[in-house]
Amino acid sequence: MDPLKEPVPVMPTAHYAMGGIPTTLWGQVIKDEKNTVVPGLYAAGEAACVSLHGANRLGTNSLGDLVVFGRRAGIHAARFARDADYHELTEEHLGESRERIERIKNSTGKEKVAALRAELQQSMMDNASVFRTGELLQKQVEILKELMDRYKRISIDDKGDAYNTELVEALELGYLLEVSEALVHSALNRTESRGAHAREDYPERDDENWLKHTLAYKVEDGKVAFRYKPVVLGRFEPKARTY
């Protein structure tokens, strides 16, 4: 468009995801509220949650997180790799991944990845954005159930093994659905407002009940279980943002 003749289109966009895969200060992935480490698995950057940002990551702090904890995760992973032995990769380990890929490649279903992804993106934007209500989130829970069901019937044109980027997009859509599910169920569960989680039906911050991390566990499609981890506050007390 020409800004001299037409108005510039402006719209909000999902810019950053707070939270993520919980890690220690060395980037080791932890799997529960007791900080149990998953040996050899590391996460850093936007995918990870070292718990640096709280409920609202402030400008440029993402880069600091990435540089500091990316380096620490790399150092620790290198140390781990030096002392670790190779595990045998058995069919038991490979089976699930292979099955997932073959199922998509051999499917004759009518659902298409791009169309399904567009519906997921639009509905998440409409119902699970920064400002949200229990009603909208509940609606999105149902939409996600339907999308996950339809995801089982996706098929792709490319059946090849070389640079099959269509297969990659199909796999990624499955992960997007799972992450969306963790996000929506956790947001529905948290009956307060905090940082970028603004529940219009619960506008106040509730430290008594919710000054804690949510750990979301997938039980099955449409069912998520929660555990909680205390927040390490350090020298700063949480305060209302009044400016």
Binding site: V113, A114, D157, D158, G160, A162, Y163, T165, E166
Partner: protein, 232 residues
């Protein structure tokens, strides 16, 4: 508007040589070529393969030969091309599939110039200081996004794939002219060799192809001079 999009395709499992495939796509004049490729991949033919990542000209993944010129698909608008658009893979690197080429020879050349700060002197208490003028000396090279538009537009590279190529020389320039760096002699070994800077015939294709407007040919000439004057 209706756009006729002709894409040079190649599937290693089926094709002996590349073949043209034509698609009709409904597009806005302000759509980018990347949008057209997505429309084909998502709604017409999912088997089309191309690389892209950030989608706004900074990751360097989607350099392609578009209407005969190397450009980034994410920065090239339909209105600047017209209603018939041809897309081919960048030249001089082996095609893996459709618009995806094997970038390994390109990155081997990049590694050969040691594109990192070399300085064994004990580090000072704080930073290695640099004046604004010293920083400005190598500023142009820092804009490189390693998209390979320059190297794969170079006629010398097309006929001699061992030529280190413009992108690697730009990267070398970025460190050779950095006041904090002490590694220029190490870099001159690769740059002064038979496959180094002296292969350049100043065709200027690289400068025209660069989507970051780096004066590539000028930087290559500065590296040639640095090697020349270093020997006296």
């Amino acid at each position: 508007m209706q756009v006729t999009l002709k894409i040079l395709r190649f599937d290693p499992a089926k094709d002996k040589k590349p073949r043209w495939e034509t698609y009709q796509v409904e597009a806005e004049p302000t759509d980018r070529v990347l949008d057209l490729l997505h429309k084909v991949k998502w709604y017409q033919d999912g088997s089309l393969a191309f690389r892209r990542s950030c989608g706004h000209g900074i990751c360097g993944s989607d350099a392609m030969l578009i209407n005969g010129k190397n450009r980034l698909a994410c920065k090239t608008l339909v209105k600047d091309l017209g209603s018939v658009i041809t897309v081919e893979p960048i030249r001089g690197l082996p095609v893996e599939k459709d618009l995806i080429v094997d970038m390994e020879p390109f990155f081997a050349a990049y590694r050969a110039v040691k594109p990192y700060l070399i300085n064994d002197e004990p580090p000072p208490q704080r930073e290695r200081l640099q004046s604004p003028e010293e920083r400005a000396r190598f500023d142009q090279g820092t804009k490189c996004i390693l998209c390979a538009s320059c190297t794969t537009s170079c006629p010398v590279f097309w006929v001699n794939g061992t030529y280190i190529g413009p992108a690697a020389i730009v990267q070398a320039h970025r460190f050779i002219f950095d006041s904090r760096d002490r590694g220029k002699r190490e870099r001159f070994k690769a740059l002064g060799s038979g496959s180094g800077v002296w292969r350049c015939r100043t065709a200027y294709n690289c400068t025209e192809a660069c989507p970051r407007e780096i004066p590539v040919t000028q930087l290559i000439e500065e590296v040639k001079r640095a090697i020349l004057f270093d020997s006296f």
